[in-house]
């Protein structure tokens, strides 16, 4: 029998909160939600809002390109060595939930190469309403939907809307043009989520990401407490 648990190499268990050298690892926050809801825009805005005080890196999970990573690079929200793209084999939800090994590798490589880091944002490839992150990969998850995808999405629920640690309803600036009722979205979300928080954002406005950035700062304060 091989029951020896004294690992000397890298941590085998993904949820370990310490790195192999005993220091605290970065807080990992996942951002999921349908394609086009504003995940990459939220990641970019968070980096701009937080990067002066917090050491951040980003992992993207594109479905078939490196488009998200390329967008972040082009907009220079972080130095290139702090952005890693994971390839998902046409199955973005598998890479964040059922088989998280490539994402864990990316997260650890970032900590090894540019660490110590305070925060790693993991953006999912964009999927349907059922895609959530494994607890073995992230410590907290944000689900980003938008008002243009239909104001009945909070009512429809699904694991992302119902269980994410933060629900972001983005693109509120578009609500008048697509006939979305923000009050109804807020009521439906509250009914689905109980006490879990919901914020409304418009990333076109100045500091539009502030409610999400504030929530991230609270999570970081809890993590380092």
């Amino acid at each position: 029998m091989h029951l020896d648990h004294t690992h000397t190499g890298p941590a085998a268990v993904s949820a370990d909160s310490a790195r192999p050298d005993g220091t605290r690892r970065a807080l990992r926050i996942g951002l999921g939600g349908p394609v086009g809801s504003g995940k990459t825009a939220t990641v970019a805005a968070l980096c701009r809002a937080l990067r002066d005080r917090i050491a951040i890196a980003v992992v993207t999970n594109d479905i078939y390109t490196r488009e998200d990573a390329a967008f972040l690079l082009r907009n220079a929200v972080l130095p290139p060595e702090r952005i890693q793209a994971v390839e998902t084999g046409a199955c973005p939800h598998t890479a964040i939930r059922d088989d998280i090994s490539a994402n864990l590798e990316a997260v650890e490589d970032l900590e090894d190469s540019v660490g110590p880091l305070d925060l790693i944002l993991v953006e999912s490839g964009g999927d349907n309403l059922t895609a959530t992150f494994s607890k073995g990969l992230v410590d907290a998850q944000v689900f980003v939907i938008d008002v243009a995808g239909g104001d009945d999405i909070p009512r429809k629920g699904g694991p992302g809307v119902t269980t994410a640690d933060l629900l972001v309803v983005n693109k509120t600036d578009l609500a008048p043009y697509v006939g979305s009722d923000l009050g109804r979205m807020a009521r439906d979300a509250a009914a689905q989520r109980g006490d879990l928080p919901v914020v409304f954002t418009s990333l076109t406005g100045a500091d539009g990401v502030a409610p999400v950035a504030d929530w991230v700062r609270e999570r970081l304060a809890d993590w380092t407490a």
Binding site: H2, G9, S14, R66, T88, G89, D99, A102
Partner: protein
Amino acid sequence: MTTRAALLVLADGRFPAGGHAHSGGAEPAVKAGRIRDARDLEEFCLGRLHTTGLTSAALAAAAAQGLDPLALDEAADARTPSPALRNAARRLGRQLMRAARATWPSPELAALAEARPRGAHQPVVLGLTARSAGLEPADAAHCVVYETVSGPATAVVRLLSLDPFEASAVLARLAPALDRVAGQAAEAARHGIDALPAASAPLLDISAEAHAAWPVRLFAS
């Protein structure tokens, strides 16, 4: 035999070791028009089985048997001329190592992880994983030959929207050949590192190099 279920756990496509993001060369073969239907898939798999499959299965059997994993890792490098495929094999080896140490921890796995923190070749890690799970060299070889063909089959279902029943039928038709190649691999491993097969597939090597440079692709390899 009390280890059969452990073999199923290890061979299950849902075992979280990163394989889902790799097509085993099927993506470039589809793009080049070499795989268009189930019959092409079967031929592709057969070719892969008798080349890469045999070589990898023998490496895994040798590791499961207890031959030096670092020497086997070098033997795997020598048998993998394409840098893109070496890179993929080491990445997959590192990912499998994580899953293996969480499922069947052993001092031998820990030692290999420490000696090759960036990953040893996947078949070597697989063989050592099988050993840690109490499996036989022939089990490790079976596991490798099966993933040699099941990886491309799954990928082709996604790439061509091939009927999944047809893809499974292809795998079933290949089963006798899989058994034979696994047997050859396990037998070769009994004769030591220098006797391990070195069958290669130049077209897979060349297309892997081209694929690694594509700007847009669904699979990592």
